[in-house]
Amino acid sequence: MKKALIIIVAVMAVIAIWAVTGYNGLVSGEEKVRAAWSQVENVYQRRLDLIPNLVATVKGYAQHEQGTLESVVAARSKATQISVDPNMLTEESIAEFQEAQGEIGAALGRLLAISENYPDLKANQNFMELQAELAGTENRIATERRKYNESARAYNTMVRRFPRNILASMFGFSQKGYFESDDNAAAAPKVEF
């Protein structure tokens, strides 16, 4: 009788320890995903911050490109309205965020393409520096997105794997969305037969 009680208590203690460590693991995993997300937002914000200066610089040399300049400004103001709640990193909210930011990328691409036609602009020191900052920011975006996806993948695996998935559903830990690779998926691995 006493033995049985001891065994029951021991089993319950083991389960409690498992639940506590499992729960804490989920919490820190989610925290990592959130930290990675805030880095993603930082680098996108960095790109947004470069735009006013860039537009002003280009305007001085290429007055005839109003349409392109306006599309950059419009895409920027649209993107600033879309923010993602770090507690709701779902597939949909990330896709929406990515789409709005993707428009900025496309508009900036067009702006840099037309700047090729203006030698004076290309030789402008300020413009050259902005271009370097912009190129660096694009690489930062790619890097932070990759890091976010890696941490989300690690976390999602934790949430889905048995038996921790029981804990995850009990305490409402849901899976996080990923960044889809953009149109230029040339870097994605291709397997051919």
């Binding site: 520096e129 370097a132 930062r140």
Partner: protein, 265 residues
Amino acid sequence: MRKFLKFIAAAVSVLMPATLAAIPERPYPPRLVNDFAGIFSPVQKNTLERRLSAFADSTSNQITVVTVTDLEGSSAAEYGTEIGIRWGVGSGKFDNGIVVLVKPKTAGTDGEANISVGYGLEGAIPDSYAKRIIENEMIPAFRSGDYYTGVDKACTVLMKLASGEISEYGGSPGEDMLIVLFTILFIIILVAILSKNKGGGKNNGNRGGGRKRIIDDDFTRGLIIGSLLNSGSGNCGRNSGNGYGGGFGGFGGGDFGGGGASGRW
């Protein structure tokens, strides 16, 4: 069977973490100059390695130079950043690593150069500075085929910029020599005092005093042996660090966020 293989391939490509092209393995023993493309002479490699590892020792900023013949389909910026992250260039505390990447020009392809800057040095080396270093220091020399001069000049500027931001003294050989000298001086003085005391003890008839002195002697002997052991072990540690071409102890786990610049010629 084919269908099955295709399924496996699809499954693998989905499951595979979104890592980039196969970058080279982290060098072992650790080196700062990794000339996979073979564009430096052995003398140039050694000179640069010594320079970079002395800089890493004195400021804790790690600059690594990597040359490759192929970027495996990714951009130079992605490739450089990936090396920085996976090798852990820079210290984990400061994230103060820099990767200088060169893909030499060949008959069919453009040459490409990239400077990737760790999180901690983004303030000291903004992208536009990195761009200017590539355009002004590296590419003009690279155009004439002188890769060493271009990389060397770039490193000079990078060192100047980086040491302005983070300059954590890592203990230099100069400081080491001073410690050794002091230890030797200390031993000489101790031995001198000891032998004088011994001489005095012999002349002194008082037993109690003599005994006391013996204890003192043991104490001083212990001190001497202790300090000898101490300096000995210090030298050992230093030597093992110095074993490979100039004392680079290994990458410290620094992280990169994609800052820096690249250029092509």
